[in-house]
Symmetry: C2
Subunit: 200 residues, 2 copies
């Protein structure tokens, strides 16, 4: 198998969710493993004193419309949830508690909580909703619940966030393959060309 596709996203990012619905198909079709790397855009915004897109005075209202239009264009069920955006710390901790032992299930879990949030308005920041989704993926909720609160898990998430920012990740979704970076669901076509042809 050739080099993996790294997929950086925030669980609370609509464009990240839309990418999550497409990226595995692209990986499978091209024999590339996709490594899901959720991180916290909040940490990035804080560090660089940035404003989330949807709160930006000029682009915010456009962005909300564009997200829904893009979802419809891609044929993906989508409603902007309320509240939005939300804190995705619990979701991230849960993911990193699962992924080392069960990478497949971790990805299914990740997609499930995003679908819950962006299709069914089930709040992603609520730990109970996170645990319920984990249980629906057949995971042991008592074990996971303890792991989420574990210092090792907290440290792991901080490490993953710092590493993402250090590597220049600044948005959601961002893909990196063979050191080439692609930002946005609207770059999946260029990403596909890259992995098929080996260059842009």
């Amino acid at each position: 198998m050739s080099a993996e596709i790294e997929f950086f996203f925030d669980f609370s990012s609509p464009y990240g969710y839309l990418a999550a619905e497409s990226i595995e198909e692209i990986g499978n079709a091209n024999q590339r493993e996709v490594v899901w790397k959720p991180y916290l855009m909040g940490a990035l915004f804080k560090k660089f004193n940035l404003t989330p897109l949807v709160n930006s005075p000029l682009k915010g209202s456009y962005a909300k419309r564009d997200i829904k239009r893009t979802a419809d264009y891609l044929g993906i069920p989508f409603t902007i949830p309320e509240p939005f955006p939300v804190n995705s710390v619990s979701a991230c901790r849960a993911y990193y508690s699962i992924v080392d032992d069960n990478p497949q299930i971790a990805r299914k879990f990740a997609l499930r909580i995003m679908r819950n949030y962006f299709q069914l308005n089930i709040n992603l920041s609520d730990s109970e909703n996170i645990l319920k989704a984990a249980s629906e993926e057949g995971l042991d909720v008592r074990v996971l619940s303890a792991k989420i609160e574990n210092d090792t898990t907290k440290e792991r998430l901080r490490f993953e966030v710092d590493k993402a920012i250090e590597r220049g990740v600044f948005g959601s979704p961002i893909f990196i393959v063979e050191n080439e970076m692609f930002w946005g669901t609207d770059r999946l076509d260029q990403l596909t060309k890259w992995i098929v042809s080996g260059s842009w």
Copy 2:
């Protein structure tokens, strides 16, 4: 003919240029007039205290790479010029000096000066280069030269810039058709769907 497509861009914007190479074809294929409305993103940045994308600390270097990669993906010859970005006031004034009498030639002139800048590194901010391009479109350079310096033209440009900002235009390219706004060359597919189907 159905409602026109308004095409807002800054002459110095690479993504605006890439859109300029595609939008007429989309308009022609769908019997829609495209009304080119160059404006000054500098005025927008000043008004809202914003930073141009390519100077943004996180996104800047990505953006430069993405622009070239996107141009190659679209099959459009492109080199990031030097200097870049430049002031496009003269280019805008020239355009608005031409467009009322000669809309067709004004569009050809606009595309020519962008091709000169983004393909041949001919500085877009230099009035001599602007006049030379106008002459190559068969325009009377003495008449145009006087018009560019005319107070009426300066006032017209200020009016167009203010109107664009007032209507919520915040980037380049931005398209508006039947009150629906599309931002970016990567939304030309959604724009096309809109004008074909009448909705998103």
